[in-house]
């Protein structure tokens, strides 16, 4: 048995595939990030860590990190929270549950490029429904809100082209688009909670919904939450299509929406700077990797019970 090589044959297909479709491309990207290679050039020069140095020193990339982290910081908690909230509400319904499920899931199914056009209309500074609605409330008690009063006087924000609002607007659309998916995952998690646990909680004296949530629902959704948060973080880091749809030229007002994926696309594809594109890719991979591993270490060992 010890001398048999059979085990190699069993794991070989998986190993070969992992190497070919995962390790090799990552290795190539890592190698490329150390060069000034451009597609079509006859040769390239090794530039060492110059590309990385640029990423961590130049202001463009500082904005890139700023935009990406702002987006992730808004989209992850909001879409996980809303997903859980919507799932809890729908789960407690006896009727129309399927209707709400469909409504909340529609943005997930819709093509974001098409939806971006709709949002562009809705957020149009003068004819868009958002600012029109806000204007309609001018002169009402809503004006006690200073932001609203200010808007009535000086005009409401140009949501998509104001550098103070652009990234938050894009993040809002990201939440709108993403939470339905989390809701579906949470609904699946909720249905798998044994009703006898809720009955035990009731017999033990948990009388309020909050007590039941703390004692049963939230801990039992632990494994679902780990998965949902991981997936949402990765998806938020990968945001690209909204940015590309709204700002095909260069990452929004003052590069305030210049997220990582868009930066990779712009550098490597549009400007044919493969080296720097590859370097951003490696940094991106590192972030996702670190966050995913942190997730596993911190949470997973506490949430898998069986």
């Amino acid at each position: 048995m010890q001398n048999s090589r059979a085990h190699l044959w069993f794991i070989a297909p998986a190993l070969i595939l992992i190497f070919l479709i995962l390790m090799l491309p990552i290795g190539l990207a890592a190698a490329m990030s150390l060069t000034d290679y451009a597609l079509g050039n006859p040769g390239f020069n090794w530039v060492g860590l110059e590309n990385y140095e640029r990423i961590f020193t130049r202001s463009t990339y500082e904005r890139m990190f700023g935009a990406t982290f702002r987006y992730v910081a808004v989209v992850v908690p909001m879409s996980v929270g809303l997903g859980l909230g919507a799932a809890l509400l729908i789960h407690s319904l006896t009727r129309f549950g399927n209707l709400y499920k469909t409504i909340y899931f529609l943005p997930v199914m819709a093509a974001l490029i098409a939806m971006a056009i709709v949002w562009e209309f809705a957020l149009h500074p003068t004819v868009g429904i958002v600012n029109r609605s806000l204007e309609a409330f001018c002169g009402t008690p809503l004006e006690l809100w200073r932001w609203h009063a200010n808007g009535c006087e000086n005009g409401f924000p140009l949501w998509l082209s104001d550098r103070d609002y652009a990234i938050w607007t894009v993040a809002f659309i990201g939440v709108w688009q993403g939470f339905g998916f989390n809701m579906v995952l949470y609904l699946a998690g909720l249905t798998s909670i044994s009703p006898s646990l809720y009955q035990a909680a009731e017999m033990d004296g948990a009388t309020s919904g909050w007590e039941r949530f703390r004692l049963v629902t939230w801990p039992m959704l632990g494994p679902t939450t780990v998965f949902v948060v991981t997936i949402t973080i990765i998806r938020s880091f990968q945001v690209f299509d909204t940015v590309e749809a709204f700002y095909p030229q260069g990452g929004g007002p003052g590069k305030s929406v210049y997220v990582m994926m868009f930066a990779i696309y712009e550098k490597a594809i549009q400007q044919n700077l493969m080296g720097i594109g590859a370097a951003i890719t490696i940094v991106f991979l590192a972030f996702v990797m670190i966050l995913t591993l942190a997730q596993r270490w911190l949470v997973e060992r506490r949430t898998h019970y069986v």
């Binding site: 009955q199 035990a200 017999m203 009388t207 007590e211 801990p219 039992m220 632990g222 949430t303």
Partner: protein
């Protein structure tokens, strides 16, 4: 500790009537078993008593107070579930402390971190109570483990511990032993009865296993089709069943039911053999019930002739399945203790019976009582 009165409980799920006017009164400190085949409504009745299910009609009284509209948490009952329903993310100690925390601590004191610091003495008291209960159940060593690290029997004890830790007025148990293996089940039966005696609490216990009902309870309620057919001490239910269904359900192996005839004088005969008893009905058919232990294989010349078709060896007892020659009828007979296993498969035997404890039923299943005690009827 308290008495429980269920009166005229009705429950329907859609069109199916699950409980039909069930009335049951359970005295203080009594161990009452609700037993019946699956779907008879016994679990539903328990859940209505617990408050987890709302009855469509009738009232629930606990310790003389009407609790029909009171939510489960305020009825001060404890329940042990079939699946144990322990919180998987909490240790056994935390599981057992949960009912105490939810009842005895203020909302403020229950907050994480701040709570244990601000209400230190309350937390210490809870910890002491948990350890005390764990000592009674001998699960002290398990207090720091999670439910997933325990065996079925240990989980069972932990669930019991969670129920016991805050002296409730009554314990409700929904088939708590059905997930255990056979040996452990028998062991836990004894342990539960002992626990009942020691706590002196009211126990309401649901099971489909008539052996559990017979061995553990002070009184058992045999339920079928949404009704309580008979309510009484186990030996009485066994010896004196109210209906044919009860007679067939209680006792293992099942009672033998023979077709019988009643002549004009009320004399009964089964398969051509007279039985010394008199019934007040005449010229009618009746069913005669004979338990396996009342039958024997040396019936002499007037015994029913048959052939052994199956031997069921239980170790302490040996049962013979005998196919009678005369009729398309099978009898289960307990082998004599002294000559265990003398008969083998295929042997021709004559089945006799001890006539004094034969049971008679009308064709519709109601019990018929002999007007003359069997002993006298025999000598007459």
């Amino acid at each position: 500790m308290a008495s429980i009165e269920l009166s005229r409980i009705q429950k329907r799920f859609g069109t199916a009537e699950v409980l039909k006017d069930v009335t049951l009164s359970i005295a203080d400190r009594e161990f009452v078993t609700l037993v019946g085949p699956s779907g008879c409504g016994k679990s539903t009745l328990l859940r209505i008593l617990a408050g987890l299910e709302a009855a469509d009609g009738g009232t629930v009284q606990i310790a003389g107070q009407d609790m029909t509209r009171v939510r489960p948490a305020h009825r001060n009952l404890a329940m042990v579930f079939q699946s144990y329903a322990l919180y998987p993310h909490l240790t056994i100690a935390q599981n057992m402390a949960t009912p105490l925390k939810l009842r005895d601590l203020s909302r403020w004191a229950r907050l994480p971190v701040i709570g244990p610091l601000s209400a230190r003495s309350a937390y210490r008291a809870i910890g002491e109570q948990v350890r005390e209960t764990a000592r009674t159940l001998q699960i002290e060593a398990l207090l720091d483990r999670k439910p997933s690290q325990l065996s079925g029997g240990q989980r069972q004890r932990a669930a019991l511990g969670r129920a016991m830790v805050r002296q409730p007025v009554a314990f409700l148990m929904d088939e708590p032993l059905s997930n255990l293996d056979a040996a452990l089940r028998v062991h836990m039966r004894a342990e539960l009865s002992e626990l009942h005696r020691r706590l002196g609490a009211t126990f309401v216990y649901v099971t489909h296993d008539q052996a559990e009902a017979l061995t553990m309870s002070d009184k058992m309620a045999v339920m079928m089709g949404g009704r309580i057919l008979q309510f009484g001490p186990p030996d009485q239910v066994f010896a004196n069943p109210a209906t044919l269904d009860v007679a067939e359900f209680v006792g293992s192996p099942k009672i033998n039911i023979l077709p019988g005839e009643v002549d004009h004088d009320g004399r009964v005969s089964a398969l051509g053999r007279g039985i010394p008893a008199r019934l007040l009905v005449d010229g009618r058919l009746a069913k005669v019930g004979l338990r396996p232990e009342q039958l024997h294989l040396d019936g002499g010349a007037d015994g029913w002739l048959g052939r052994v078709v199956h031997r069921e060896n239980l170790g302490h007892d040996l049962y013979f399945h005998v196919a009678l020659d005369a009729d398309d009828q099978r009898l289960v007979v307990r082998g004599a203790q002294d000559r265990n296993g003398a008969e083998s498969l295929g042997d021709a035997v004559r089945v006799g019976f001890k006539p004094d404890r034969a049971l008679f039923f009308a064709p519709d299943g109601t019990r018929l009582h002999s007007v003359v005690p069997a002993k006298l009827a025999e000598s007459a």
